[in-house]
Symmetry: C2
Subunit: 273 residues, 2 copies
Amino acid sequence: MNIDRNAPVGVFDSGVGGLTVAREIMRNLPSEKIVYFGDTARVPYGNKSRDTVLRFSRQIIRFLKSQGVKAIVTACNTASAFALDEIRQEEEIPILGVIEPGARVAAEKTRNKKVGVIGTVGTVGSGIHEAYLKKFDPSVTVFGKACPLFVPLVEEGWLHDPVTVEVAGRYLQELREKEIDTLILGCTHYPLIRSTIADIMGDGVQLVNPAYETALELLHLLKEKNLLSSGTEKEEFPYRFYVSDLADKFKDFANSILPYDVAVTRKIDIENY
Amino acid sequence: MNIDRNAPVGVFDSGVGGLTVAREIMRNLPSEKIVYFGDTARVPYGNKSRDTVLRFSRQIIRFLKSQGVKAIVTACNTASAFALDEIRQEEEIPILGVIEPGARVAAEKTRNKKVGVIGTVGTVGSGIHEAYLKKFDPSVTVFGKACPLFVPLVEEGWLHDPVTVEVAGRYLQELREKEIDTLILGCTHYPLIRSTIADIMGDGVQLVNPAYETALELLHLLKEKNLLSSGTEKEEFPYRFYVSDLADKFKDFANSILPYDVAVTRKIDIENY
């Protein structure tokens, strides 16, 4: 397969959360163009079944390929957990998830071999982080904890708020008692309340942000496959945003977290792909 | 059109919330059979656009008609707000929403003509309660407040919890300052935290539960159209439950709130309708 190194990278998520991954790619691979798709009509994926998430992911990949992307980042933890293995077998284009990069770094960082994972019910219940962590280091013990209120709290904008601190304190208590020394932020929204989580867990616990680790892994992968953008081709709009619903609301959220002005967001009918 | 009076009533919602409406129908119309559909693959509707909610509602109505229902209750506030008017023009079968019955009773109950409405962002933003309230009594002033954390708090099971009390106190403060004397629980999940809401609002504020009012309106409508079940036809499973995803999880929630054992829940592919 002949791939254009100056083609954009495709990034998708169930909604706005994956923008934290897009943000890390913008910061760490500034020459790369991005086509982002947020499945805002069908968000969230965290409470949906494997079959449904796999079907949604296949539609999105068909859409991103129609946009001529050279590689795809599944920025959604649930989609990475439920769909990535199968889709990689179906596609020639390189596809990265957010689970493996986070798990690899956590396995490297932990000293006491006790690693915590927080995420949606779907992600934590899938046990996917544990599977990867044990592949990298079989001696690691993994403690998972679903935190279903974190996403709505972040989307409410209560990032530094006593309610969020109380909810986080309650969710994380169990992991503190397990004396983990490394914690994977296993949901794309969680980096936005990273400081609250860090305060509760204390200095002895290292937080792993898979958004950042995935951007580094993308850099490595593109370099290895000789697909890094030459950076010579200037473009007025290097970042293109597509959603399946309510483009304006998405744009507001995007503008609040990206170091970049999102001028245009287009709504597409994802069920046609 | 010739309708069988012993046919079931169709009830649908974006997910589990509409079960509070099904529950009121079971309590107040015990001879009626029910076919319930919860769109658990695409929940929630509250943050989706009018077009998307209309499209989803049309698919569900096609499904319910395929099950031979004699009338349909749109138990979802967002679907009632966004889709009901248009769908009623397209269909011969009687279709009820949850907005109108709640608004009618609130307009009757209020003395100081200040009515509050709480619900999802979509429902409150639609202004649909205000439109109905003003139809019933133009002198009413309506104060709306979106409470996006209530649904995840209820689904987390934190019904009587300090966090829920704190969140509710914050959301409702604004309505207390407006000195409303009547409050519409404009989301199907909210009756499950009714006592917390009642405590915060105080004795001077009457709560209107549209689930109950809708069941009474259904009773009235079926009587008027001579469609009340004769109640002679016994059936082993008078209540049938369908979902678009994760049937087991739905069953657990249903069994926790219904005065009835939900033995079987079937998953269907709603996008085929």
